[in-house]
Symmetry: C2
Subunit: 322 residues, 2 copies
């Protein structure tokens, strides 16, 4: 899962950042330190910090300033995962027991609150109010997206548009602002920040679609949790929606979903149904369209080494093994 | 519960603030709006906004600036209540069903996250980074305090000092910074802001001790929830600690606490034991000491009409019916 630390340019900075990430949740309370570090040390791609640093390359790159954006973004992402695992009743993440599984819902809830608060404490050092505004707006959108997700559990009537709006809030927005805030913290030109936002948004959308695909077609070893976890908890993702649009598969899949909802079936047969149709390939296609948009946006950015790296990341998202 | 809106000076501003408080959680998502407004409209004393406005009277009073501090503080307090009610399994608050009771733990968790995020969105408009730093630090302390509370559930060995440290984090700090941030937002002299912080800290300590007393000696009608709720959930408060120090009552109370913990007894007999000893009067005495400190601090502030109001609030906290 450390595949994103592949750019020689950033390796040293990313290592420094990793250490600081751990330090950022230490020293307040022994239990909060333990629960917070449990998740952080389980790994993760650090996609958001990587994007911040890369965004910073389009302005005056200053690690000290950039880390005050990169660390909070990774912390906000982590806090949302801790809370999501409570909602989803998830037992494993990144191949490790979740905070919720190890310490229970209540401690997981306060661990999330604590990590959010620490994130804000770091951004508070930044004098640029625009950065605070962007960050807090993204946090509002994330909680709206998460609420939509709860409300849409087992809602088999939801449209593709509905799904896309939800993943925009849940994932794409935070990746978009990672790119943008990196640029802003480095005082890059406004136009570069705008393009980086758009790049991040499109990569983020593709990334979440791939993640949702992987949940259905990956192995437990690949994804760090049992396949079909989304469906088990009622999270209707893009391949499911596409399969429900297929008149040959719709009624069978609806039946399976009802059995899963009522606890009378595991997800095995539903996954087989989805794999038998075009839901996977159509989802892949849509993810590729987002990647193409991201690449198109990149063309408009000034040429530098980072631009090549951003292109590689886009390809990397396209090529995630599943 | 609207007794703190007693100061003619602030009534109009507090009404404007109340409306803006409701507006602050509207327009993002129908369900989040409903769950957030459910708590806000159930009332509350708006102690933190009142203190912000009063703090502002020691500088250049500007409602427009002050509300950007007052509303976030009330929102942060409200969000913490929503999360606390999940932890405490509380069914009623302010005489109404809790968000947790009405919508369940998961929706309550995201409602809290949402309200926190909205709070930050409003402070983000303020250019003074010091205010952000103070606010985020208080949020960290609050989550540490809440974690301590979970860890200390049914811990009958905790000391008075331990209890005081916890309520400092859980309550007093947020009230202290309400006074301080009001002063800072109004660009009051540093010394006034420092004194106001100290006043708020002492009033906050007294307030929480009184609140904990009320939980044991109030009626359900007075406190908006069944008496003994704290003890039922394992929250060992000051009168309990003092009673455990009384050799005539200690072993009986320990026995009752164990029965309550294991669900074999209600809190009735434990309350009777506490009321029979000196736990209540000793707690009242300590609360009074904090109030006296608060009044002493006030003496050092420049004389104005607000100073009289702050004195009245201190007396009001002292005189809470129980």
């Amino acid at each position: 899962m450390k595949r994103l630390q592949m750019f020689g340019l950033l390796n040293r900075d990313m290592e420094a950042l990793e250490k600081e990430l751990y330090r950022s949740v230490q020293g307040d309370d022994a239990l909060l330190e333990e629960t917070s570090l449990h998740l952080l040390k389980a790994g993760g791609k650090r996609l958001r910090p990587v994007f911040v640093l890369m965004g910073g390359k389009f302005g005056r790159y200053d690690l000290d300033k950039l880390k005050r954006v990169a660390i909070p973004l990774e912390l906000i992402h982590s806090a949302s995962l801790v809370h999501d695992d409570v909602i989803d009743d998830a037992d494993t993440r990144r191949g490790e027991p979740t905070v919720k599984a190890k310490w229970g819902d209540k401690i997981a809830m306060y661990t999330g609150d604590y990590i959010y608060a620490k994130a804000l404490g770091i951004t508070a050092e930044l004098p640029n109010p625009r950065i605070h505004q962007i960050l807090s707006k993204a946090m509002v959108e994330m909680s709206v997206g998460e609420m939509e997700q709860i409300r849409d559990f087992f809602n088999s009537e939801q449209s593709v548009r509905h799904y896309l709006r939800r993943i925009r809030r849940k994932t794409a927005l935070l990746i978009a602002i990672s790119c943008q805030l990196g640029a802003l913290a480095a005082e890059a030109p406004t136009e570069a920040a705008r393009l980086l936002y758009s790049y991040g948004y499109n990569v983020g959308m593709a990334f979440q679609i791939r993640d949702d695909l992987l949940d259905l077609s990956g192995t437990e070893k690949q994804i760090g949790k049992p396949p079909g976890s989304d469906m088990r908890q009622g999270n209707i993702t893009l391949p499911v929606i596409y399969t429900l649009q297929d008149s040959r598969l719709r009624s069978q899949l609806l039946e399976e979903l009802e059995l899963i909802r009522s606890g009378r079936a595991t997800v095995g047969r539903a996954i087989d149904l989805i794999l038998s149709g075009e839901g996977i390939s159509r989802s892949e296609e849509l993810a590729s369209r987002y990647i193409n948009k991201a690449l198109h946006v990149l063309d408009q950015l000034p040429s530098n080494r980072t631009k090549g790296n951003l292109r590689e990341i886009a390809y990397f998202v396209t090529g995630r093994a599943y």
